[in-house]
């Protein structure tokens, strides 16, 4: 199959008389070699005496494939442009039939694609309108989800129990290893940072207070929230996005099953339940991380550290932490499902949906934290 075994493809125009031009082709015309471009053909043609007709001489023609076809299509095009009629009877019959298939008459007319990019103003306007539309979609989706929860409370859950159990397992038990690792490390990091400052005053024991309060009140919830946004939110978006690509969501709708009831609700419930549980676990692991640093580096006793933590962490902090995580659970689930349902029908859209779910999840977690912290300030808790 190497191109070196082929003879070079050449062409020449000759004009034996004024009524016809002859295009003589010789050599092997293969697409993987270099083919003459339109300009060369035009130049060669312009050196000839103008004639009303062009015919072909293929006596010297060797092997050919679509390389010859592409060349001839160009010649035909140029001849038509110059008002020369083409008499293709001299060409091999296969060539004629294939060229006939590819001829402009066989194509659908009026297909063009606007190539010029829109102006800056148009793009700004589009982006603004998109943003507005996106916000409206989001509100509509939150409304749908709320209605779906209400329907469930009235005793008509629109999903299968086995789905919920599977999702509970995926979002809960299977997230434990990564939550353990991250929370333990965050607890240790907090303890290190605090220890450097507190050692200057000789009150290393307050490391227990810092780690305990920070983890229980907000850090445990935020860390689980971010882990779950990356882990579960993205998974939700990819799952629902793929279902959108396969028209599975359409199939549900046609069946009269609300995709929100069937797909979103179990995911929402699972995260609403699992996120607080994971948060409690994360709080514990964080405190253990602090303990490791306290005992290992600061020479504190285990019992001493335990008592200090119990004294420092009030039940109020614990409830505030749980409230955070409950809100994060709702946000992560909704962000994941919304982006999944909004997914377009191609492979890259699924990737975009997953990315977008994580970004939306994390941004909303941070914004929600700010709002809750502000509320706590105002309420004085």
């Amino acid at each position: 199959m190497s191109s070196s075994t082929y003879k070079e493809a050449t062409f020449s125009f000759i004009s034996p008389s004024t009524d016809a031009l002859v295009l003589r082709l010789s050599g092997d015309w293969m697409a993987n070699g270099r083919l003459p471009d339109a300009e060369e053909i035009r130049q060669a043609l312009s050196q000839q005496i103008p004639a009303p007709r062009i015919i072909f001489d293929v006596v010297g023609l060797g092997a050919w494939d679509s390389g010859l076809l592409i060349f001839l299509a160009k010649v035909f095009d140029i001849c038509r442009g110059n008002g020369i009629s083409v008499d293709s009877s001299g060409l091999p019959p296969g060539v004629c039939r294939l060229l006939e298939l590819a001829s402009p008459e066989k194509q659908r007319s009026g297909v063009t694609r606007e190539k010029s990019p829109p102006s800056f103003l148009v793009r700004v306007a589009d982006a603004t309108l998109d943003f507005g539309r996106g916000f409206k979609d989001m509100l509509a989706f939150v409304g749908d989800a709320t209605l779906s929860v209400l329907r469930m409370l009235r005793g008509k859950p629109g999903f299968r129990r086995s789905d919920l159990i599977l999702i509970l397992q995926e979002t809960g038990a299977q997230a434990l290893p990564i939550v353990s690792l991250i929370s333990l490390l965050v607890g240790m990091i907090l303890a290190f940072v605090a220890a450097i400052q507190l050692r200057m005053f000789g009150v290393q024991i307050y490391v227990a207070d810092v780690v305990g309060i920070a983890m229980v009140r907000v850090m445990g919830a935020i860390m689980t929230g971010i882990i779950m946004a990356g882990r579960t939110g993205a998974a939700f978006a990819a799952q629902l996005g793929m279902m959108q690509v396969n028209e599975e969501i359409d199939a549900l709708e046609v069946l009269g099953v609300s995709p929100v009831d069937f797909l979103v609700l179990p995911r929402l419930l699972a995260l609403m339940l699992m996120m607080p549980l994971l948060c409690i676990y994360s709080d514990l692991m964080g405190v253990v991380g602090g303990l490791i640093v306290g005992v290992g580096m600061l020479d504190l006793g285990v019992i001493e550290y335990y008592h200090e933590t119990v004294n420092a962490v009030s039940l109020t902090y614990f409830w505030i932490g749980l409230f955070h995580s409950f809100v994060f659970g709702v946000l992560v689930a909704l962000a994941g499902c919304l982006r999944g349902l909004q997914c377009e029908r191609n492979a890259s859209a699924v990737g975009f949906a997953a990315t977008s779910a994580v970004v939306t999840g994390i941004v909303s977690i941070v914004v929600a934290t700010a709002i809750i912290t502000l509320l706590c300030q105002v309420l004085g808790i």
Binding site: N32, S66, L101, E344
Partner: protein, 264 residues
């Protein structure tokens, strides 16, 4: 190359030979003792009911799935026993049209066709673009160069998939259910195109299908896979199988279950 004047069957060289091939999933054997050969310029039909392993057989022939036993020979080279390098070279001679087109959704049609050309030829970008445009025109999609696959109908996707399969002027074209999901006229046009490619460019064509109209319109050679017998129960020109086969299951398949051999 341009064998418009086709040689009689026995004089054309064997392009593919399948030898004692076995199709199995784990320990479950679906087909065994598959033996047939395909000559240059054949339009070879792999037929059989749903779930008989047609598509898997094709996957084993193009190198997507390793057979449990047996060989696929291209000329003298055994595909699965050859080294990776040889296999890659052989694969370059294939063009494959997947069932739903399998166009890369993030690329335009022109880019879809250009990708194999960029990968395996030294052609300058302008010429690649020309080749892509021409191949699209050949399947009737001239002017759709800058469209994305998601903007096309199912039939158009299939034709664009064919244009991509033809990008490198392959010796051997594989089709997985080419007429599935097409209206009768589009299916007929695709059949005509397959015949044209086989005759004009002497491309060897292997078609996996159970569409009877196509089988009789284009097939010059075939095998019939019977999942109950766990092997091929008929081979040869489908029109001849229809008149000559003694196997009731084969006849039933080729007559849509009526068993009447005369075609209305």
């Amino acid at each position: 190359m341009n064998a418009s004047e086709k040689l009689p069957e026995s004089e054309r060289e064997t392009v593919i030979e399948v030898h004692d091939l076995e199709i199995s999933y784990g320990t479950f054997v679906l087909m065994r003792d598959l033996n047939f050969h395909i000559r240059r310029g054949d339009i070879f039909i792999i037929m059989g009911g749903s779930g008989c392993g047609k598509s898997t057989l094709m996957k084993q022939m193009v190198g997507l799935k390793k057979p449990a036993r047996g060989q696929v020979l291209y000329g003298d080279v055994s595909f699965w026993d050859a080294g990776t390098e040889v296999r890659e070279q052989l694969k370059r001679r294939f063009g494959i049209l997947f069932q739903s087109g399998a166009l890369w959704s993030s690329l335009t049609l022109a880019e879809n066709i250009a990708l194999p050309l960029e990968q395996y030829t030294d052609l300058p970008p302008a010429q690649i673009r020309e080749v892509a445009s021409f191949k699209l025109a050949l399947v009737g999609l001239g002017g759709f160069e800058d469209f994305y696959p998601s903007e096309l109908s199912g039939g158009m996707k299939k034709r664009a998939g064919l244009a991509r399969a033809m990008a490198l002027d392959p010796d051997i074209l594989f089709f997985d259910e080419p007429s599935a999901g097409l209206d009768p006229i589009s299916a007929r046009l695709l059949d005509d195109l397959i015949i044209e490619l086989s005759e004009s460019l002497s491309t060897t064509v292997i078609v996996v299908t159970h569409d009877l109209a196509s089988i009789f319109a284009i097939g010059t050679n075939s095998v019939f896979l019977d999942p109950e017998a766990k092997t091929m129960t008929a081979a040869g020109d489908p029109k001849r199988i229809l008149t000559e086969s003694a196997d009731p299951k084969v006849v039933s398949f080729l007559t849509r279950g009526t068993g009447r051999r005369t075609k209305e």
